[in-house]
Amino acid sequence: MMDDETEQLTELLAADLDDGFTELVRVHARGVHAFLLRVAGSAAEADDLGQETFLRAYTALRGYSGDRRRALRPRAWLLTIAANVWRNHVRTSVRRPVSAMRVEDAEDMWSDARPGPEERATAVEDRHRLVAALSQLPELYRVPVVLRHVVGLSYAELAEVQDCPVGTAKAQVSRGLGHLRRLLGPHEAERKKVAM
C-alpha cells in the first residue's frame, strides 16, 4: 500500500508540480516535522527548518524533468534535504552561538486522550526525560536514531539519507540506542531514589 501511494505521488509530481507538491506536503509534512523537532529539540526551530526543507524541495523539483520526478523516493529524498538543512543549521549555530539549546515538548498537543492523571504525569515525565536524553545524544547518533525510530524509516531508506552502506546505518542506530540507554540510565536510578 505504501508503495502504491509513493508511485501515485511521484506520478502526480511528474504530471503537475503544484498538485504533486501539495500532496507531498500532505503526506510527508508530519514526518519531516517530527524528525526536525526531535533532532533540534525546539518546535520553533523545527518549524523554520521544515519550511526551508520544503522550499528547497520545491525549488529542486522545478528543475527536475518528469522522469527524474517519477524516479524519486519522496520520503528518503525529503529527509535527506531535511538532514542537510539541519547539519547546515548546526554548523552556522556553532559559528554564531545564540543560546543553549532549548528542549521543548508541547504537552498540550497530546495531553488529552490519556488515562488518569497519575499515569499521565508519569508518561509526561518519561517523555521529558527521553526528549532531554535525545538532545544530549551526539549529533552523529541523534540523526540516525531519530530517522529510524521516531520517523520510522527502513534501514535501506536510512542508508540512502545518510549516504552510507546499510550495515553502517544499522551500526549507527545500534550504537546510538546504546548511548541513549546510558544517558537515560542514571536518571532512572535517581528518580527511583527520590520516589523512595
Binding site: D18, F21, A34, Q51, L55, M109, T122, L130, G152, K193
Partner: protein, 279 residues
C-alpha cells in the same frame, strides 16, 4: 532502595517504542505546519482544500472545504470506512480519492460551518456536490431540504428530487453521501418510517436525531405503528408526523392515517409545508 519488582512494574516498555511515540506527539503542530509550508512556497489556495475536525452530537466530524464550499465530511464513527474511528490521515486519503485534491488541516473552519452544526440548519451552507451524477445530486439536495428535527421517507425524497427512483435506490444514494451530517441523511427514513442510517450505525443516527429534539424511542414507536401520516380534526390537514404543524396538534385532535388515500377519503388534504404524497 526500591525492590526490583517496582522497577519492572513501571517500565515504560522498550526504548524503541517510546521513541516511536515521540514521532506521533507533534501531530498538531505538524498539521498547521503543512499549511504554512504551502503558503510560504506560494502554492495558490485553489490547488488544495483545507479541513477541520469539529465536535457533533455523534462525535468528531472531519469537514473539508475549498475557499467557497464544503467538499466532503466524514464522521469518525463512519462505518463505511473499515476501521473505526476514522483517523485524520484516513480522512485525507478518502478526500484525495473522492475530490482529487489534497486536504490540509487548518484551524479555521469555513464561515457558517460551526453555527450550522450547532443548530442543525445546514441548508444554506454552500456544499459542492457538482462531482456527483445529476440524479444523486438531486436526491441529496432534496435531503438538504428536510428541516432539522423532522423526518421524511425515501419516497418523499425521490418525489422532491423529481426522480423516478425506488426507495431502495434512494437509500443507496444516501449510503454514499459524501457530506455526512451536513447533508442530513439522518433525517431520512424508509417508507415505514424507520430511520435508514445507511452510512453509520444506528446509535450515531440516534445521537444526531436526539440533538435535534427527536427522541429515539418516539421515532421507533412511529416506525412500528401502522400510521405514517397524522391529521388534525380541526384543520382537516394531514402531515408527516414530525412536521412542525403535526407536532402542534393536541392529542385529542390527532387522527392517524396509513396512506394518503385513507386521508383523502376521510376528507383531508395534504400539508403544504411538509408536502406528504397526495392521493
Amino acid at each position: 532502595m526500591k525492590p526490583d519488582g517496582e522497577q519492572t512494574s513501571r517500565s515504560p516498555g522498550p526504548l524503541e517504542s517510546r521513541l516511536a511515540e515521540l514521532g506521533q506527539g507533534g501531530a498538531t503542530t505538524a498539521e498547521h505546519f503543512a499549511l504554512r509550508v504551502l503558503r510560504r512556497t506560494g502554492i495558490p489556495h485553489t490547488r488544495y482544500d483545507t479541513y477541520v475536525r469539529l465536535e457533533t452530537a455523534a462525535g468528531g466530524l472531519y469537514v473539508a472545504f475549498n475557499s467557497h464550499a464544503i467538499t466532503m465530511s466524514v464522521l469518525e464513527s463512519d462505518s463505511r470506512q473499515g476501521q473505526r474511528p476514522v483517523t485524520a490521515e484516513r480522512f485525507e486519503e478518502l478526500h484525495r480519492r473522492r475530490v482529487g485534491r489534497s486536504a490540509i488541516p487548518t484551524e479555521k473552519p469555513l464561515a457558517g460551518l460551526r453555527p450550522a452544526l450547532r443548530t442543525g440548519r445546514s441548508r444554506h451552507l454552500p456544499i459542492d456536490l457538482s462531482t456527483l451524477p445529476a440524479a444523486e445530486r438531486a436526491v441529496l439536495e432534496a435531503v438538504r431540504a428536510i428541516p432539522p428535527g423532522q423526518l421524511r421517507p425515501a419516497s418523499w425524497i425521490a418525489r422532491e428530487a423529481a426522480q423516478q427512483m425506488r426507495a431502495e435506490a434512494v437509500i443507496g444514494v444516501l449510503a454514499h453521501n459524501p457530506v455526512t451530517v451536513l447533508v442530513p441523511c439522518h433525517r431520512a427514513t424508509d417508507d415505514n418510517g424507520a430511520p435508514c442510517d445507511a452510512a453509520y450505525p444506528h446509535e450515531t443516527g440516534d445521537a444526531l436525531r436526539h440533538a435535534e429534539g427527536m427522541d429515539p424511542a418516539a421515532v421507533r414507536q412511529w416506525a412500528q405503528g401502522d400510521a405514517t401520516l397524522l391529521g388534525s380534526t380541526t384543520t382537516r390537514i394531514y402531515c408527516h408526523p414530525t412536521c412542525a404543524h403535526a407536532r402542534r396538534i393536541t392529542p385529542a385532535r390527532r387522527v392517524p392515517f396509513r396512506t394518503p388515500g385513507d386521508a383523502r377519503r376521510a376528507g383531508y388534504r395534504a400539508c403544504k409545508s411538509c408536502r406528504p404524497a397526495a392521493a
